[in-house]
């Protein structure tokens, strides 16, 4: 297969996935329609996460801070300042970009376990800040964005993000953009350097690459995509609370990505979808559902350490990005 053939296949696969998600809204029953909208937002978060974890090999245990930066960047400006949803979305992205660059300068001085701990501590600080400034954030209780706050006009059309169809398609646009950005990055020179750093940082430096700069770019991209997902979450589901800044929301993307396939572009979607439905189904008949899901995850990861798509790539489809 020539490189041009590979490119064609890769583009067709990704376009196909986006088209399938678009068509799903016409056939899914109402309940699953809503679940899929949520899954797409969270998959966009996981896609941002895997740029850092899967491709660059940096395991962050604090990505909830970037998700929360977007969530509050959008939520607070819309709620308190009366900004329109698009402006709030912009504020969320800007908050994520600024935070991830700052975190990068601190955390990227460390590697391995120290990096995990530093990112976890910084995220804990963000979580505590969201509780401390309860006057504005209402802490755990959170703020609720009303339907009016989530409605805006663009080119003469009124868009109400609290309606199921608008919400679904906005989530799809977010996910599609995240996926295509991720794909473009990993196929670009920067993406090759990220993988090289993951495989052997010392060697990468001795090939003339500024590895700190490359890692900072990966972290900024990853944090900003995570924030875009957080901002969308606040606007589409009308809620911003401290739970989303907690350690759980740092662990979830790791689990989604591990299950779906860490260094794959589509693995985050598959992992998020699978785990969401695993929790959905098991919580229906047992209160120990998290334990059950945990056991299933361990078994799956033991069976295929590279996740579902990673296994597929190793065995059959070597061209998967």
């Amino acid at each position: 297969m020539t490189p041009a053939d590979t490119t064609k296949r890769v583009l067709m696969l990704h376009a196909g996935v986006i088209a399938a998600l678009f068509l799903a809204q016409f056939v899914l029953p109402e309940y699953h329609h809503g679940v899929l909208a949520r899954v797409m937002v969270l998959a966009a978060y996981a896609t941002g996460y895997t740029l850092l974890f899967g491709y660059t090999g940096l395991l962050s245990l604090g990505h909830a801070m970037f998700f929360a930066a977007g969530l509050y960047g959008a939520g607070l400006t819309v709620y308190h300042l009366g900004w329109s949803p698009p402006a709030g979305f912009g504020a969320g992205i800007a908050a994520g970009l600024v935070l991830s660059v700052m975190v990068g300068f601190v955390a990227l001085r460390t590697t391995g376990v120290a990096f995990m701990i530093v990112t976890m501590m910084l995220a804990q600080a963000v979580y505590l800040a969201s509780l401390y400034f309860g006057e504005w954030t209402r802490g755990d209780e959170g703020i609720v964005l009303t339907q009016a706050m989530r409605t805006f006009e663009i080119a003469g059309a009124t868009i109400d993000l609290s309606l199921p169809d608008e919400r679904f398609n906005a989530a799809l646009i977010l996910y599609a953009c995240s996926l295509l950005i991720c794909l473009a990055v990993v196929r670009a020179p920067l993406g090759r350097v990220m993988v090289a750093i993951r495989e052997n940082e010392d060697r990468t430096r001795m090939l003339g690459y500024d590895t700190f700069q490359a890692k900072l770019m990966a972290l900024a991209l990853s944090g900003t995509l995570s924030a875009a997902a957080g901002a969308s979450y606040a606007l589409l589901f009308g809620y911003a609370g401290s739970t989303f800044a907690s350690i759980h929301y740092s662990i979830y993307p790791l689990l989604w990505v591990l299950l779906g396939g860490a260094a794959t572009t589509l693995g985050p979607l598959i992992g998020t979808l699978a785990i969401t439905y695993m929790i959905d189904v098991t919580s229906g008949f047992t209160s120990a559902y998290l334990l059950l899901v945990g056991v299933m995850l361990v078994l799956l990861v033991l069976w295929s350490p590279n996740g579902l798509l990673g296994a597929l790539r190793d065995r059959k489809l070597a061209w998967l990005p």
């Binding site: 490189p3 020179p189 090759r192 350097v193 993988v195 090289a196 495989e199 052997n200 010392d202 060697r203 990468t204 430096r205 001795m206 090939l207 003339g208 690459y209 500024d210 590895t211």
Partner: protein, 247 residues
């Protein structure tokens, strides 16, 4: 005057590891276009000295001048762009990537530094990758993951990655370790052709290789330079015989 200036000069270069003086006050010069061998017993400080030159390890004291400029404070990746390439003594390739992709990382670096912004030219990339693999004689292994290669072939891949950086100074740290006699012979031919474009700093234990390739030899012992000269004078040197050649 500039033409006579050495390519590389170190002045009172030192490096300590805790209490151990791995490189001690070394004044060392490499002339343009030469093949310089560094020999010495295990632990003499050869790898540490060249690591200071390429920037993998920071110096404790002293200065390093390359092409007339003080590079002592420059990070390793900038030194690579200035033309210093290092091939690792302990093979350090990207085991999970194919040989092609290993070399492509080096080629990408040189292509991008030439054209700064803009798209990478895929055809130029592939052509240069294959040219580098062909020079070391492993072009047929381009699609094989580097980790699956024999040790000797991994050494050759290291050299291909170094070559693809278009270096002015290519540092080879024990490149023939693990190669068969036939492979060593063709490797020596390769080094001679590289030497037409680049200056070579060769750390080598195989005395046959050293004597057939080197224009000049530096002998190290206990972190210091014990002797320096052309191959004939070094093999006749009594101190060297005692310290290294087993007297």
């Amino acid at each position: 005057m500039a033409a006579l200036e050495p390519l590389l000069t170190t002045r009172s270069l030192s490096r300590r590891f805790g209490g151990l003086q791995a490189v001690a006050n070394v004044d060392f010069q490499v002339q343009r276009g030469e093949i310089r061998a560094i020999i010495g017993p295990n632990g003499a400080g050869k790898t540490t000295l060249v690591s200071l030159v390429c920037g993998r390890i920071p110096a404790s004291e002293g200065t390093i001048v390359f092409e007339g400029e003080d590079i002592t404070g420059l990070p390793a990746h900038t030194r690579v762009l200035r033309g210093i390439a290092y091939t690792f003594q302990i093979t350090s390739v990207f085991a999970n990537l194919t040989c092609h992709d290993n070399v492509a990382l080096a080629v990408q670096r040189t292509l991008l530094s030439k054209q700064r912004w803009g798209r990478l030219d895929r055809h130029a990339l592939t052509a240069e990758v294959m040219a580098a693999l062909e020079r070391v004689g492993i072009a047929d292994l381009a699609a094989v993951p580097a980790g699956k290669l024999s040790y000797g072939h991994q050494r050759l891949l290291e050299v291909a990655m170094g070559l693809a950086l278009n270096p002015r100074l290519l540092i080879l740290d024990e490149p023939t370790q693990g190669l068969s006699d036939a492979e060593i012979a063709s490797f020596c031919d390769l080094v001679r052709t590289i030497a037409e474009e680049a200056t070579i700093l060769l750390i080598e234990h195989n005395m046959h290789v050293v004597m057939s390739l080197a224009h000049a030899i530096t002998v190290m012992n206990n972190g210091a330079i014990l002797a320096e000269g052309d191959p004939a004078s070094i093999s006749a040197n009594a101190d060297v015989q005692q310290a290294y050649l087993g007297g």
